[in-house]
């Protein structure tokens, strides 16, 4: 397993999880228990010794993790644990925060996304993002979906792309008769699904979701969670969430972060039933956080 972490300073429980993965990798045909991805599939994103500082304050400390392709990986942890910072660094959205400093690397397509050769504008076409609060453009539904593709020089049939994206985001039936009306007239949940459609219109390899349901009611949340489950057949989803039930329901893998450190990353079922770290245990049982 070339792509795997071998840093001996990693905390033990992560190692344990990795050893298990290693063991499983002997049988290359074996699938992950939760998604249709072979365990041998190389990670789509490799985070290595990543530290992110706001000025002097380290928000993310020496995180190393692999993101398997076409799975949902959830990142959970209490407020301020660095999970959003980690997520935002994956498509260089941290660039817009003054005073951010990054150490370590994130490999995507065999390239370090922090290297000076990586163009963040091109990177964000391949790694899409959905934000905490729905933020559609104050334009028509159609333009919301088409704009990103248009500015990136999409060569195919735009009407078709808009329709497929809206269908994949499970909102087509609700908006197909009002594509040219303002997106702001939609409900919060519909706006968020429109934002997902907008992101997947660029056919990104990875979809980053930063607490996409925290501003939504339970019904809209349930629809987004169903949608996430469908999206993973085409996209790799990395989901930051405050909501542990959401992580348990929707994700294949869960990473627990605390105080900027990655405490544990494992199969979601294992992490929530037999966590190897005491702090994970305390957090998921509600003893803190």
């Amino acid at each position: 397993m070339v792509g795997l972490i071998t840093d001996p300073t990693r905390r033990q429980n992560v190692n344990t999880a990795k050893e298990e993965t290693n063991r499983e990798d002997m049988n290359t045909a074996e699938m992950h228990a939760c998604c249709d991805t072979p365990k041998s599939a190389p990670p789509i994103l490799t985070v290595q010794n990543l530290s992110i500082y706001y000025g002097q304050h380290p928000a993310v400390k020496n995180v190393t993790m692999n993101i398997p392709p076409q799975c949902v990986t959830a990142i959970i942890g209490p407020s301020g644990c660095g999970k959003s910072t980690l997520l935002r660094s994956m498509n260089r959205m941290n660039d817009f925060i003054p005073g951010v400093r990054v150490e370590g690397s994130i490999q995507f397509n065999n390239k370090n996304i922090f290297s000076s050769k990586t163009d963040p504008v091109a990177l964000r076409r391949s790694i899409g993002m959905v934000f905490q609060k729905p933020n559609p453009f104050p334009k028509s539904i159609y333009k919301n979906v088409a704009w990103g593709a248009a500015i990136n020089g999409y060569k195919g049939d735009m009407n078709h792309l808009v329709e497929t994206s809206l269908k994949q985001a499970a909102i087509w039936d609700e908006v197909k008769d009002k594509l040219h009306q303002s997106a702001l007239a939609l409900s919060g949940g519909q706006q968020q699904r429109l934002c997902i459609a907008r992101a997947i219109a660029l056919q990104p390899g990875i979809l980053l979701m930063d607490e996409p349901c925290s501003a939504l009611d339970p019904i809209a949340t349930a629809r987004i969670e169903d949608l996430i489950d469908e999206l993973k057949s085409r996209y790799t989803v990395i989901l930051v969430t405050h909501n542990m039930q959401q992580a348990a329901r929707t994700s294949d893998f869960t990473a627990f972060m605390y105080m900027g450190e990655l405490i544990e990353l494992d199969d979601t079922n294992i992490l929530f039933t037999k966590p190897s770290n005491q702090r994970t245990q305390d957090y998921i049982t509600g003893r803190f956080g």
Partner: protein, 309 residues
């Protein structure tokens, strides 16, 4: 159920007093203070409106009888004030405002976009921002001196429409920049982030989302700025605009006069008929100003209707 009841009873016993007794809401007093403040604000608004109404009444009372086609198409005359007109001043003002708008609007909006969207937020950009705000407060006569030195003398433009327009542009640029910056600042950050996350460059983000969203505020700033420019006499007098002209400018390099200067010159005359002419010229100036603003307001309304597409 049982348990909950027990707890709430215990709580009530422990607090040992009615919570209502712990507050003195004085609702009547609070509402009374609110009413007084509302009345005060209404009075202050009334003063402003009353002063404006008195001014308009006096001007229309004095000047209305002189408003005629002749007044707009005749040149001013000291000898025959009865047949005097504001043709040269009106044309001069229209020339001035047009060129001022052409120069100051792109420069002002461009500077605002650069400062707000592109420039790094550091000590230098804060310093520039503070000083633009200071420039907005500089007396207009000072801009007149600057215009005289820079455009009339140094650039050899002479006492032309162009020199006057450039001077007025300098005068209103800070107003346009500040208003446009405020408008850009009011566009939610989330819209910018959404665009960036779709792989947009900064220019694409600004062009497609930020400027359209800020346009109503920017147009308001332009209205205010051009209204100021059209009413200025001092800087134009300073750069040597003429006070009695019997021709209209044919191009930007011609000498000119303007309505505020015409008004000023007439007010200075001892014969009372000139006071009436000045009042009539003020009516013309107001009409130009209001029609200009009407166009801008219509433009803004059209943009606002259009912007959600």
């Amino acid at each position: 159920m049982m348990r909950e009841n027990t707890i709430s009873t215990e709580y009530r016993d422990a607090s040992d007093s009615n919570p209502d007794a712990m507050y003195n809401p004085r609702l009547d007093r609070r509402r009374f203070i609110g009413k007084i403040f509302a009345v005060f604000c209404a009075c202050v608004t009334g003063i402003g409106v009353a002063v404006l109404a008195a001014l308009l009444y006096r001007i229309f009372d004095e000047g209305w009888i002189y408003i005629s086609t002749n007044f707009l198409t005749k040149f001013p005359s000291m000898l025959m004030p009865e047949t005097s007109g504001v043709k040269s001043a009106l044309y001069g003002t229209l020339w001035l405002v047009s060129i001022t708008a052409i120069v100051s609007i792109p420069v002002g909006i461009g500077a605002a976009i650069y400062l707000e969207e592109f420039a790094p937020k550091n000590r230098l950009s804060r310093f520039i921002h503070t000083n633009i705000a200071n420039l907005a407060g500089v007396p207009s006569i000072v801009y007149g001196i600057l215009g005289l030195a820079m455009f009339v003398r140094w650039s050899n433009l002479g006492r032309s429409v162009l020199a006057g327009s450039l001077t007025l542009s300098l005068l209103i640029l800070p107003v346009i920049i500040i208003a446009s910056r405020e408008a850009l600042l009011g566009v939610p950050k989330t819209i910018r982030l959404a665009a960036f996350a779709l792989g947009a460059t900064r220019w694409q983000t600004v062009r497609a989302h930020v400027v359209p969203a800020a346009l109503p505020g920017i147009i308001t700033g332009i209205i205010l700025a051009l209204s100021r420019a059209i009413g200025e006499a001092a800087p134009l007098v300073m750069i040597g605009a003429l006070s009695y002209v019997a021709f209209v400018p044919d191009g930007p390099m011609d000498e000119f006069m303007a309505l505020p200067i015409q008004i000023y010159t007439w007010c200075d005359q001892p014969d009372p008929i000139f006071q009436h002419l000045a009042a009539a010229a003020i009516i013309v100036l107001l009409a130009v100003l209001l029609s200009m603003n009407a166009v801008a307001v219509a433009l803004r309304a059209w943009q606002q209707r259009k912007s959600p597409w």
